[in-house]
């Protein structure tokens, strides 16, 4: 470094504290053990979110919400050069992001990384997943084709089934008694303004917590004496591996987006009957199927009860899942830790089983 660059660096450092940051990066380490692979999934989720921001802004260049929504998506897909690719990358990255968040969540769960002092990491992560799901749901309507129209219509039946406030809530979300251009307009506002405004600070909080507490180690590692545990420097070793995995993720995304481009159906028609085989996105298949199954069990005049029972059951499951750090908080792997472990296995089984049944019975 020349004296001039040193001088410039010192000038900035004095004002922004770059050396403190560099010292922090030098000190930071990441544990190395048989389960280290799972540490990358939070980063993959983050990378896919960044992809969503970029492709989302690109779509925003030509997308027009409201009555012209379908026409503008048709233009993006068939008229603008490579518009199909950008739209396809946005849709595929959304699916992949939900998938990698789920992998991240279950790995945190089974490594018991939610225990003290990481309760806020768990809670903020769950909230991020919730917002990501609303991102997916609201984005799905924006092309306003047949499929997105009916998916939104059916999806909004879930809040509508909540006793007393449900009908009003659903009307508020739809902007009227039925899905229309008013719905797409407010879903658009939700998708590009409200949700990012909630998501970004929460994501910042989540990442700050990771820096503050470092990576959690699974109970099997905790059992070892401290000097037997291995670690690698965060910078440059872990960062280099992280970036390599981001590159692999980008390649997988590019492959999926170009080989399986996202389709655009017929424009929505409020008078047309629902097309055969209509089903929600894969990440909503499980609750969709659970409601359907309960609808079979409680048919006829008990059908309304079945819906409410389904929503209650699902809400109860989510609340129990959220509260796990306050139930399984001991460092030792006792009775409660085992119960939490089985609860996690049960959750995976229920999600997989209902999703498979859902696709089986389309």
């Amino acid at each position: 470094m020349t004296t001039k660059t040193v001088a410039i660096y010192n000038w900035i450092d004095e004002r922004l504290g770059l050396s403190e940051l560099a010292a922090f990066a030098r000190r930071k380490t990441v544990p190395v053990h048989s389960q280290s692979f799972w540490y990358y999934w939070g980063g993959i989720s983050l990378f896919l979110f960044i992809v969503q921001c970029f492709t989302g802004v690109l779509l925003l260049v030509y997308y027009r919400p409201g009555a012209e929504a379908y026409e503008s998506v048709r233009q993006i897909t068939f008229v603008m050069h490579f518009g199909w690719l950008i739209r396809s990358a946005h849709a595929w990255a959304a699916s992949l992001m939900i998938f990698s968040i789920l992998v991240h969540m279950f790995s945190v769960y089974f490594m018991k990384a939610y225990r003290k002092p990481r309760e806020f990491g768990w809670l903020s992560g769950m909230l991020l997943l919730g917002i990501a799901a609303v991102f997916g749901f609201s984005g799905y309507l924006l092309p306003m084709d047949e499929l997105s129209y009916f998916a939104t219509k059916v999806g909004l039946q879930i809040p509508a089934a909540i006793p007393f406030v449900g009908a009003g809530l659903a009307n508020m979300l739809r902007g009227g008694p039925d899905v229309s251009e008013f719905t797409v307009q407010r879903f658009f506002a939700l998708h590009v303004v409200v949700l990012p405004a909630l998501f970004l600070p929460l994501l910042g909080f989540h990442l700050w917590l990771v820096q503050r507490h470092g990576n959690a180690i699974p109970p099997s590692e905790e059992a070892k004496p401290a000097r037997q545990r291995k670690s690698m420097p965060f910078f440059p070793d872990f960062v280099r591996k992280d970036l390599a995995i981001w590159l692999i993720s980008l390649n997988i995304l590019a492959l999926l987006a170009s080989v399986f481009p996202w389709s655009l159906g017929k424009p929505f028609d409020p008078l047309a009957p629902a097309p055969m085989g209509i089903h929600p996105e894969w990440y909503f298949m499980s609750p969709f199927e659970m409601l359907k199954l309960l609808g079979f069990i409680f048919s006829g005049k008990y059908a309304g009860f079945g819906e409410i029972a389904g929503i209650l059951l699902f809400t109860l499951g989510i609340v129990l899942w959220l509260l796990i750090p306050f139930y399984d908080k001991s460092k030792e792997s006792g009775q409660r830790a085992r119960a939490a472990h089985y609860f996690g296995l049960l959750a995976i089984f229920a999600l997989l089983a209902t999703t498979i049944i859902g696709y089986w019975t389309i």
């Binding site: 690109l58 260049v61 603008m80 050069h81 490579f82 518009g83 950008i86 690698m232 420097p233 070793d237």
Partner: protein
């Protein structure tokens, strides 16, 4: 560098190793640039789509204006010739004149004023002749380009002169 990737001190690099390392770094650099270009190209084409479409539109040599023969004398019809605005003037003496409506000064859209019998640009006060398109006064450096006009019973055909 982590401890396990450090080379033992007794391994000395041959000069050939350094050459192949340099070749590898160069190849990696080229591959990286190619990768970035492969990402940037679709994004560039996507964003450039409207201007490319406009370029295609400039290739147009002829526009048919349906029912424009009914335009009363002493009035103007604004229309698009390719990507840019143009005007068809039906003069009081019965002459049909068509020319581009883009001011040659800074690109504002000009206006036909029948009462003053002139073409005026409100941006900087440029004035053109409504029959020839000649720049009469004000800042415009060049005349407005005129088009050929053919009037028939179903409409008016405007084409490049």
């Amino acid at each position: 560098m982590s401890p396990n990737t450090k080379l033992p001190a007794n391994i000395i690099e041959e000069p050939g190793d350094q050459n192949s390392r340099r070749a590898f770094m160069a190849a990696a650099g080229v591959a990286g640039l190619a990768y970035i270009a492969a990402l940037a190209y679709p994004i560039y084409r996507y964003l450039a789509s409207p201007s490319e479409m406009a370029m295609e539109a400039t290739a147009i040599t002829e526009v048919t204006l349906k029912d424009a023969q009914k335009l009363p004398a002493g009035s103007v019809l604004m229309f698009k010739f390719g990507p840019s605005p143009a005007m068809l003037i039906h003069h009081l003496d019965g002459r049909w004149i068509s020319m581009t409506a883009v001011c040659t000064h800074l690109g504002c859209t000009v206006q036909y004023e029948p009462e003053a019998d002139r073409i005026h640009c409100a941006c900087h006060g440029g004035v053109y002749d409504p029959y020839t398109g000649a720049n009469v006064s004000g800042p415009p450096p060049r005349p407005l380009k005129t088009f050929k006009v053919a009037v028939n019973e179903t409409g008016v055909e405007v084409s490049r002169a």
